[in-house]
Symmetry: C2
Subunit: 432 residues, 2 copies
């Protein structure tokens, strides 16, 4: 396909959705991508640009001729242009802003004036409104005469004379009501508004919790400035999840499968470095007990079991807590009960594994006391793991930090240190 | 509040959304929940039931009088009733089915005949259709005369005489077009259908990838049987994420923060048990080198560093791969390039940490050769970790299994075994 046959390529790409073409561009190698863009550039439109992953969008925009980009962004709605702009460098931003029509440029610049990751960045400014004293008939006539309705809209927002939203009416309800019904009598119960400065994660939560389809955005004076639709909220939800998952694993949360070698190394090295310090801390604990290990080398073989079980149990508690914090299922009112339950789970699992490994340790090395020490250390470490895995994310959240961020290293360091200390310390007291 | 004052409780709960009342019920203790339900039961409606987490829904249904439940489910749309029913035991299912009107019961039973987690379970049967030869005027008149339109709908689906969907028209477009325009001239490009037997994860992917708002569902003869709306798809996406996260952490994927002590122990024990076996494998490797450790106890302090760095690096690669597989960003066409990149990242990070720990190891114990062995083991283990973290989920996916399931234990077992073997094996050869 890369034989330079532009016409053939166009035919092949014709039936594809913009999102699929963007995926294709992300999955091929950088060299292939350059070749493909060279051939295909006249066909690249705004939809493809806005579907591209941020990590390669800059590269693609650089590879495209100015006219193609200008043409592409002019077709897009303002929220999509904002989405493209916010990740670009200054000169590329200027280039795109310059290509927009005046009215759109003003709208985009105003959206960019809201903080990053806020509702103001997410919303579209194109809204469909009606005075709240109108009837169904008046609204329908108004809509049928409007020239410039947005591509997608699901509600007519009712506003008072000062642009404050009062409720909304679904188009379905509008169509099925008699012409003389007052709009304010058929508004939806689900109506709520968000502030333009609200964080987008909060917006996604509201959509998911209250099953919203669209939500009006208001400024600090409660005046309507835009509307957020569910497809944007779904996108944010998806990104928030990705962030949580990647942060829990200690990977930079902007990293993507399309990143190059250097970007990938850069996003992973810092976390591994933090882990290295933590691991050295554990090593320091062990080296304190060198005399004990020298007198009973079997301890060296068994000690990773204590650490590994603690690390795993801690990760279990941690993941459940981080997820529950994200979905607001873990709050001040049940935190204490969840901590107590986790502590109970840690103790019960600790007892169970203490019995199993106590027996294994006794038979393996023929020393019942070694088995007992191993079992006691497991109980202790699984209990601490359960507590740390729950309390660390709760504390981070209380401090206003992301509970997923770096709590993994925190928890495993705790379980490593406690595990080695408990096991080797007990062994020192009991066995030597 | 729990002083038995039912009227006061009703006033307090009045302004709350059903989802918030459900959250409240989830967060209080089982004893409080029983008391609350006793007082509040006449007010429990279908919306609250369908917002409840599965883990406590059964408990709540048992605590409620039959008439309340019958009343509650009768108000719900069929897809919500299906959602409640599929997690209940047989006798409770019968109870609810018996409370439904005949037509609804048939609809619910038909939905339950589709496989679990399929589009057929997710869809609502209430659809708004129009013959594809109609004009805008005919469609509007038809809608205005319909008595029984669904609560929420966004599209009118065009069908041919054999009930095959041909396209759809948004209500906004319908309202803003002239009455004599043919419906088939204003259909949306985004139109696509899904099979009723399609998996719900696939449906959520399609909604997210193509920014759909609603999607018609067809049977094996391509005839329209229902429609899925974006709020249901958003829910599925949310659940899929939760599943991936919990599975990666080795927690049963149905577990919830509201689970009791026993349920929690039961959902975590099996994974810890698998990890125990893995940890014993690592211990077995170490015990093979007892003679080496006995002659140089410093090895015992340093060996967890190698294992821990490998485990962390493996988890990084694994999480990125699992996430990319879930979003279809990692496919057959770029798998090979991603594997090569991960291998490169593993080597580079390995080299970097080898230099750091080589120096630390040399100075700490005053033995340059010990530092060299530590460094070499780190390079080896980070390389293997990167490969295992990428190849294991790819293999699981190729085999049709969930790449998140149990791959974490797989990868850390590999890095533990390789790490201990490389470090202690090299030490045996070089240092003794």
């Amino acid at each position: 396909v890369e034989a330079g046959d532009a016409a053939r390529l166009r035919d092949l790409a014709e039936p594809l959705h913009a999102a699929d073409i963007a995926d294709l561009l992300e999955q091929i190698s950088p060299a292939d991508r350059r070749d493909l863009l060279g051939l295909y550039s006249p066909e690249i439109d705004g939809d493809i640009l806005s579907e591209l992953d941020e990590s390669i969008r800059e590269e693609v925009i650089e590879a495209l001729p100015r006219e193609v980009i200008a043409e592409a962004v002019r077709e897009l709605e303002t929220d999509d242009v904002v989405d493209i702009l916010e990740d670009l460098e200054e000169p590329q931003q200027e280039l795109i802003l310059g290509a927009l029509e005046d009215a759109d440029r003003v709208a985009v610049e105003r959206a960019l004036s809201y903080p990053e990751y806020s509702a103001g960045r997410l919303m579209q400014r194109e809204v469909v409104v009606a005075p709240h004293h109108w009837t169904v008939g008046e609204a329908i006539d108004f809509l049928r005469q409007s020239e410039n309705l947005p591509d997608q809209f699901y509600h007519v927002i009712l506003i008072d004379p000062r642009m404050k939203p009062q409720g909304y009416v679904t188009l379905g309800r509008l169509l099925s009501s008699r012409r003389d019904v007052a709009l304010r009598d058929i508004t939806e119960d689900s109506f709520r508004t968000v502030q333009a400065t609200e964080e987008e994660a909060e917006v996604a939560y509201i959509f998911n919790q209250y099953h919203l389809i669209s939500c009006p955005v208001v400024d600090e004076n409660d005046r309507l400035v835009g509307v957020i639709t569910i497809d944007d909220a779904m996108n944010v939800l998806d990104e928030e999840h990705e962030e949580d998952m990647l942060r829990l694993a200690g990977v930079g949360d902007e990293s993507s499968i399309a990143d190059g070698l250097v970007a990938t190394v850069r996003s992973r090295f810092p976390w591994l470095f933090v882990n290295l310090i933590a691991a050295n801390l554990a090593a320091l604990v062990i080296s304190h007990f060198e005399a004990t290990i020298a007198s009973l080398v079997a301890l060296a073989a068994l000690m990773p079991i204590v650490a590994s079980m603690g690390g795993n149990a801690g990760t279990q508690s941690l993941t459940v807590a981080v997820r529950a914090l994200a979905t607001r299922d873990l709050t001040g009112s049940n935190a204490w009960r969840v901590i107590r339950r986790e502590a109970g789970v840690g103790l019960i699992n600790g007892l169970a594994f203490a019995c199993i490994m106590g027996a294994v340790g006794s038979f393996w090395f023929g020393m019942p006391m070694l088995g007992a020490v191993l079992g006691a250390a497991l109980i202790c470490n699984l209990f601490v793991a359960a507590l740390a895995g729950t309390i660390v994310p709760l504390l981070l959240d209380r401090l206003g930090l992301d509970p997923a961020l770096s709590s993994g290293t925190f928890v495993t360091t705790t379980t490593d240190v406690v595990g080695f200390f408990a096991f080797l310390g007990l062994a020192t007291v009991v066995l030597t």
